[in-house]
Symmetry: C5
Subunit: 321 residues, 5 copies
Amino acid sequence: MLVNCVAYQEGRKVADIPKEDISEYLTRPNCFVWVALKDPDPSELDEMREEFGLHELAVDDARQGHQRPKIEEYGDSLFAVIHTIEPAGDELVIGEVNIFVGPNYILSVRTRTEKGFTTVRARCEREPHLLKHGSGFVFYALVDTIVDRYFPVIDELESKLEEIEGNIFGKGTARSNIEALYGLKQKLMTMKHAVDPLLEATGRLCGGRVPQVCEGTQAYFRDVTDHLQRIHGTIESIRDMQTTAIQVNLGMINLNETEVTKKLAAWAAIIAVPTLIAGIYGMNFKNMPELEAAFGYPIAMAGMVLVDVVLFLWFKRIRWL
Amino acid sequence: MLVNCVAYQEGRKVADIPKEDISEYLTRPNCFVWVALKDPDPSELDEMREEFGLHELAVDDARQGHQRPKIEEYGDSLFAVIHTIEPAGDELVIGEVNIFVGPNYILSVRTRTEKGFTTVRARCEREPHLLKHGSGFVFYALVDTIVDRYFPVIDELESKLEEIEGNIFGKGTARSNIEALYGLKQKLMTMKHAVDPLLEATGRLCGGRVPQVCEGTQAYFRDVTDHLQRIHGTIESIRDMQTTAIQVNLGMINLNETEVTKKLAAWAAIIAVPTLIAGIYGMNFKNMPELEAAFGYPIAMAGMVLVDVVLFLWFKRIRWL
Amino acid sequence: MLVNCVAYQEGRKVADIPKEDISEYLTRPNCFVWVALKDPDPSELDEMREEFGLHELAVDDARQGHQRPKIEEYGDSLFAVIHTIEPAGDELVIGEVNIFVGPNYILSVRTRTEKGFTTVRARCEREPHLLKHGSGFVFYALVDTIVDRYFPVIDELESKLEEIEGNIFGKGTARSNIEALYGLKQKLMTMKHAVDPLLEATGRLCGGRVPQVCEGTQAYFRDVTDHLQRIHGTIESIRDMQTTAIQVNLGMINLNETEVTKKLAAWAAIIAVPTLIAGIYGMNFKNMPELEAAFGYPIAMAGMVLVDVVLFLWFKRIRWL
Amino acid sequence: MLVNCVAYQEGRKVADIPKEDISEYLTRPNCFVWVALKDPDPSELDEMREEFGLHELAVDDARQGHQRPKIEEYGDSLFAVIHTIEPAGDELVIGEVNIFVGPNYILSVRTRTEKGFTTVRARCEREPHLLKHGSGFVFYALVDTIVDRYFPVIDELESKLEEIEGNIFGKGTARSNIEALYGLKQKLMTMKHAVDPLLEATGRLCGGRVPQVCEGTQAYFRDVTDHLQRIHGTIESIRDMQTTAIQVNLGMINLNETEVTKKLAAWAAIIAVPTLIAGIYGMNFKNMPELEAAFGYPIAMAGMVLVDVVLFLWFKRIRWL
Amino acid sequence: MLVNCVAYQEGRKVADIPKEDISEYLTRPNCFVWVALKDPDPSELDEMREEFGLHELAVDDARQGHQRPKIEEYGDSLFAVIHTIEPAGDELVIGEVNIFVGPNYILSVRTRTEKGFTTVRARCEREPHLLKHGSGFVFYALVDTIVDRYFPVIDELESKLEEIEGNIFGKGTARSNIEALYGLKQKLMTMKHAVDPLLEATGRLCGGRVPQVCEGTQAYFRDVTDHLQRIHGTIESIRDMQTTAIQVNLGMINLNETEVTKKLAAWAAIIAVPTLIAGIYGMNFKNMPELEAAFGYPIAMAGMVLVDVVLFLWFKRIRWL
């Protein structure tokens, strides 16, 4: 689906143009065309391939989807694959944005992604002195926006970890903790797959030789790289704490087992000792003077209770109960 | 066994030729010969060595098999070892494809591999403008096909992991989970051994100085490298989750142990307490008024039942039962 | 809030100057202006941006805060983000110092940080021969001071680890150890996030090409880098020991479980054996000669005691009790 | 002990020569001397040092032994230390081969190593066209042979792992598994110490600048490096599986513990319930009609048996028995 | 404390000289002064700083101590910090040697270190042809000696590991093993902190561009680096085995727990079954023919014993006892 198709000149919007006029605008000097597609069908991609002369392999990747994030050079144009991550209920939905950038065009193709990029367009049009840099700056603005949308997701994961940390030394939460920690790990892996390859890719746009289309925007891409590095650091940090948390949780489970065993032992003693006493007075010896005594029975009962009280207090003191 | 022996010129098939004519075609300009062998016996390899002037060490490797994946330069020719991975029942069968590539020939030798490469030949012949690149493009097409065949295998492993993840918090599945996780790990290692060295090798064909035979196909080898990197990423990710899953499983086993101990303790109490009461009324004291009472027995029985009901409810409440 | 605004010439303080005069002093040769802000409001930052011609992206970072430590070049000026770490009760408070350094100015902006940098100013003014190096030396002095303030924090963490190590083989401390180890890990991660990126950044100021503003101070930045490396080494070392300590703690928990089980078993035997004997003499066989014996009862009791004494000593010997 | 001392010229053996004549042959053009020592005493090494002008530090290393594998350049000669690994019963014996290579000599010194290198000599003499490369080729042949002798050892370790994998999910094998896994790890470390540094060292002989003595044999050393990489990969793979196997084994131990606890609980119930019933009918209430009934006793017994049969079947069903 | 102050010329000792004459000897050609200090007070360091023109930052480091090992260049002189490790009872004492090396002087400052370097001085004076290399060779000799003193310490740790390995599958040693393994880890970390940074530092003195003062001694520093690498390898290896040993120990603890539980279960059964039988014959049914039988009691007792013998043998057979 075609979302937008606009021509820009000298940093200012010229006009919304129909697809058919693209090739005309491509020939104008200092002019570039910005096309946005959403979940396109193959024929739309083919049209664009012809308009902009895109490389077969890049279009193939866009068609198939499920690529890993990357920024590739094809001659003087770039092809970028970037993951979008959108929370949906308790799940993370991974979408994909494919961006083709040439000296005089930029084509963004977004699939499985709810949120669009109208804010990017607005921001670019608000800053004509920056938009003058051409398609490279639009490329930066798109990447920057997608990366900035990672922050709330990663913040969510940090909160989740903190919530688990609040429960981890509590009682009776071992099972839910372990499930939560596993779920957290799954989401971290999703984030990691989106962030790490992209970090590597943007890193190459801000130092050393950069593709011509990105000339003059190095400081901006360094900023994006820095954001990605921050996210990367947070992911690694959560992963590290999560690993420790799983070990700690295992320790707590075992500690709990010990406590249950202690309780079992204590109560077993409290029941078994009077049972033994009762057994003794249940013996059939002829000559057992206590049995004849008037207060034998109550005294025996009192003895049982006394022993149990002593045991109970003792177990309380050594914290088995 | 000789599968095929075909000469190509200017990107088009010239003829199926007999082995004996190979040397003749090798001298023609812009012509290359594509030979495919399957599980060859040593004499066939020796013949080929002489026809194409292959290096002794490379032929040795092909003869012995069980090499690690690699792409080596011998002068202006290449020798590649690539693993094929084919599922057979619950096992993965590792085969090997050895490829010798020179400016005017390509020889593929496949061993312990079911699936052939007729599709590769068909694809190449369908695209003469690409086949014009010569033996280097055929080399790419072969590698690309083998790598693409890794995807269903890795998808299978991902499904397996998801299946285990679905069971891991269930009851009574700890043993089968642990066996499945170990089996998964074994298969991952097999994949890893096929993918990682190949990734390193193809990476050298798409950047910096590339062997002459691969000139003009860098973008294609970058595509293969990208696929391999995707597979590599998935393998690492499954490995990572699998490690966590083993820890989680251990946690669940211990948690289960605690629950069994709690059940044991609860039922022990429910049996032991009436046993104690029975013991008390089994004592032989002369003076035990309850024993004489008309309803002593039913009251004692009722008492026992009552105590047990209370205990049962209590244990239910604290979730020991 | 403006803390200070001072002009220096040839390594000596010229005057405390009002903000308005900054631009005047910036034009004087061999003169630089040193401004210190604390928790500034956006307008103050904007003023400074205009005075010193700071880059938009750098000011944005300073405004938003919560950056990772870094030192970035913008043309011939530098922008540094450094974390401060101040203990507050049992927590670590992470603040941020942003430093803008140009050939003739240095602007430090500190947020969420208690301790100021008056000592730095005093030290610099005491050593005019060093201060002659200009704003680069002040930059070094600030970084050095912040890094030196990490040492007491890391020493504190080392003491904490030693305290835990003292308890880890003790009894009844497993739970508090595990909590302490987890807390230690959290603090280590905080330190690590402050130190590791900064180490990387300062490393680039002491070797190879260095930004012009730091020329002549390489040996000093090497010293800072060395301090950071020492802290980094200590962090890694504590992390390593902490990981081992968690495993050891788990071992101790399980060992303890075994000891509880042994105690349970021993006491169970000590109670169960006389119960069995009592049960035997509680049988109703007609013909049980012991029952008739005059000393049957005391002998039976003595037997029970004897058996228990033997059992008790036995369990003591095999260390189950 | 001198094993051999032979002069070669143009790839062909000239003569077995006495030690005294070495210096004479060293001066002949295109001629090199190949000396093999076994467990030499210090004086023999000193003799050789003088004959060949070996570097003091290299001879020191050979004298002391217990070096890590390495290949060092001293001027235009090489000094190599390589570990030999020979199985002896259930142990691995680590020997050492020191090789000194110069343009016109090669001296191999083997210590604590059973197997000699007569096969290497035979192979070299069989292939004069290769032996023409001079001492560098002999050096390759020695290294290649030693490395090839690693394969059976590593195969043995792989079989060992497979054997353990076959037992790991069995019952009652936990202890022997854990001992076997630890022993496996020890042997892997031994292999790793032999292989990894050598891999690094041979890698430097097959690419970039190579020592003059190895000129023309790069392809051969690449082959050795490739073999070492294969062994390295296998070692890493076994290590990885062994780590997982230890975790799995721990899981199986805990699983087994749970099963024992379940069995304990089940049998305890099966004994305790009839004990309770017996206790009830052992009570001394006056008014217990069942006691008077003619079939009271057999009915009670039948009841006990019935309850136990029900319990037994129930425990079977929930797989506690 | 001044230990020594000697002037050397052309590799030979000229004279023991008083501190005051140092500056005089520094101006002589081919002459260098070797000063050794032990636990100096600040004033002594200041004196030396002036005599030799040492850099402020280097002297600061020497004064403060507790540096990490390093070798730093200050102009044409070097400053090295090296840890000494001396066993003291069951502890390792970490000392520090600071070495300042210039073209015509070498100053060694040792703190918290028992063993001196008179052997180094003796060795150097015995080999004037090497001492001719100047202060660089003395520097090498000092480093070499300190590194060689690491070997007995690391051997000690290896023996300790072997001792633990001998106990790890034994019974009743779990607690002492775990303590020993933790202690071993602590010492390994100490060694690692001394060795790893030094390895990195000496590695820079034996390849590529080396500081002028070390020209001509590269082969010697390569030897030191090689020794350090050997120690490094051994440390890593012990660490690796120690990690596995901790896991194995945990497995043994859990295995032991299972065995205790099995014993508990077996003895419980052996006591509980006759208790049940006794309970049955303690029932008060009127009509229990066995009770009247003349040999009822001995038969019942015999039955109990028989059942227990059978149980005992059974448990022995399934190895629960």
